[in-house]
């Protein structure tokens, strides 16, 4: 990471608005909020338990025991198969990786000096930013082949991988916007001083501008990671064995209405426990990297 101290041509950045899309959320996070939210979930579970005590006799296993029985399946998927919440996380990692790399390229296209590249990148960005995620997911699921033959090699495209691509597309467009915003937030003086030191445009971008952008891009990037993770249950609609699908399967096999609230509540809790720390961490980084003025 370049800092003004280690790199003489960098000028102390002038006060610029923080890039975070959710900078205003800074004061929203208190440990108490976590307590309250967890309390809400616990209340739901207890209500379900009480409901069960009232409505059914003692022959059936209790709600908590049933939840415990299904937890391994929902977290890790069926035995010898990959699925469940772990698959949600894997899909979120992969989609984020693909989306970030392609988004970086697209974002650099957005600030290109060459007008056609700029307008094509703009059109792609707008298209994928403004389309509903679920529609894009259907688009990729239904319109890409399930396998591809290149030469003699058959490359299979399993459903979960196609779903990953479908989720990576909107991420790509949003990352591109983040890159563009971050580059635009770097003072013009940086470009000019680099030019006066005979850096080419590519060199300036790669060695001076982008290293300074990284810090500004991390909080919104993490924000998008959280949004992506919360979008992964969508893949259950297109038939992937994720936590959502398995929860519904478990409910279908139990056939007990008093389980509905606790089971869905548990799934909500899984996501909450995973996403809430990320959100808090994002806020902390946002505060830390905020340009003071």
């Amino acid at each position: 990471m370049s800092t003004p101290a280690s790199n003489p041509i960098l000028i102390q950045p002038v006060p610029a608005p923080a890039q975070g899309e959710s900078g205003f959320l800074a004061s929203a996070f208190t440990p108490r909020a976590l307590g309250i939210a967890l309390g809400m979930v616990a209340c739901l579970a207890l209500a379900g338990e009480a409901w069960a005590q009232l409505t059914v006799g003692g022959e059936r296993p209790g709600i908590l025991a049933t939840l415990w029985k299904w937890t391994p399946l929902i977290l890790l998927g069926p035995p010898r198969e990959f699925g469940g919440f772990a698959l949600n996380i894997l899909v979120s990692f992969l989609a984020m990786a693909i989306g970030t790399v392609s988004g970086l390229a697209l974002g650099l296209g957005l600030i290109s000096k060459f007008a056609p590249v700029r307008s094509v990148s703009w059109a792609i960005t707008q298209f994928f930013r403004n389309s509903p995620w679920l529609v894009l997911l259907f688009f990729v699921m239904l319109l890409t082949p399930f396998q591809m033959r290149i030469g003699g090699v058959t490359i299979p495209f399993p459903a979960w991988f196609k779903a990953t691509i479908g989720l990576a597309l909107p991420i790509m467009a949003n990352i591109a916007e983040i890159v563009r915003g971050a580059v635009n937030s770097i003072p013009t003086g940086q470009w000019e001083s680099a030019e006066s030191l005979a850096f080419s445009r590519l060199q300036t971008l790669w060695r001076i501008i982008l290293p300074q952008c990284v810090k500004r891009m991390i909080p919104p990037w993490m924000n998008w990671y959280a949004i992506l993770t919360m979008a992964t249950p969508l893949i259950s609609i297109v038939g992937v064995n994720d936590a959502m699908t398995l929860t519904q399967d478990a409910l279908a096999s139990e056939q007990r209405t008093e389980l509905l609230m606790p089971m869905y509540g548990m799934l909500l809790l899984f996501f909450f426990v995973y996403c809430y720390p990320i959100a808090r961490w994002t806020i902390r980084l946002e505060r830390k990297y905020a340009v003071r003025n």
């Binding site: 929203a28 939210a37 403004n130 959502m244 609230m261 869905y264 996501f271």
Partner: protein, 248 residues
């Protein structure tokens, strides 16, 4: 109009471009009904979620700690869980607990249908974000303005209603705009609980008529136009609300 339908029909015959959802009266009818449902769903959710945002932001300024903590818990819970699972929770877990009423054929049915549950869950989801957005606007209002209103004898609700909120709305319109666009896109999730909105109808049509690609393009175009119209309206609102002397 007939000429256009004939042209689209000839496209199918000559090039295999199957735009049956335009020229077939039945398919067109149900697609248009689906689009209308999406518009209704989006409009209701936008209004309700903005209402939740305004009331929630007011409650956050409350003196009662417990009330604040409750709003805070609501925000964190809805912000950090997937909207799809929320929707399933509302529809499949809370839905069956609701009382049943008899419909006109004398059959018992839940008091709230899938449309109502979609509205409720999407509004609560977007509302959680809206509270944060409005609060950021409220915090941007100068303290001296509030003190001036206090010295003129406004009570807490009056200050919020006549002084703070009008200024806050102007500050937070861009962020609100973003979130509401996101909400409109999220209405497609109502597909999962079988609300007959555009995506649901479209998937029925592409299963019946095997025109997945053409239908997809229509679908994406529809949402681009819908979002485009909304953004245009919001930009006009933003411009008409602009206070001279603020911003550029």
């Amino acid at each position: 109009m007939e000429g256009l339908w004939d042209f689209l029909r000839s496209l199918h015959d000559a090039y295999g471009i199957n735009l049956v959802h335009f020229y077939d009266t039945f398919e067109r009818g149900r697609l248009l009904r689906g689009m209308w449902t999406t518009v209704q769903l989006a409009a209701t959710c936008v209004l309700l979620s903005v209402l939740i945002g305004i009331i929630g932001a007011w409650l956050q300024g409350s003196r009662f700690k417990i009330l604040k903590a409750f709003v805070q818990g609501y925000i964190q819970f809805f912000r950090n869980t997937p909207p799809l699972v929320q929707m399933y929770f509302f529809y499949f877990a809370l839905g069956p607990q609701m009382p049943r009423v008899e419909n006109e054929f004398g059959i018992a049915q839940p008091i709230l249908g899938s449309f109502a549950w979609a509205v409720i869950s999407l509004s609560f989801f977007a509302g959680a974000f809206n509270i944060e957005i409005f609060r950021s606007g409220v915090e941007a209002v100068q303290k001296s303005t509030v003190e001036a209103a206090e010295s003129l004898g406004f009570n807490r609700w009056q200050i919020y209603r006549y002084v703070v909120l009008p200024l806050a709305v102007r500050v937070c319109l861009p962020a609100l705009n973003n979130n509401l666009v996101n909400l409109i896109k999220t209405t497609t999730q109502a597909y999962a609980i079988a609300v007959p909105e555009t995506l649901y109808i479209a998937s029925q049509i592409w299963s019946d008529r095997i025109n997945v690609f053409e239908m997809m393009v229509t679908l994406l175009t529809f949402y681009l136009i819908l979002v485009g119209i909304f953004v245009w309206l919001m930009t006009r609102l933003e411009r008409s609300l602009r206070v001279p002397g603020f911003g550029q």
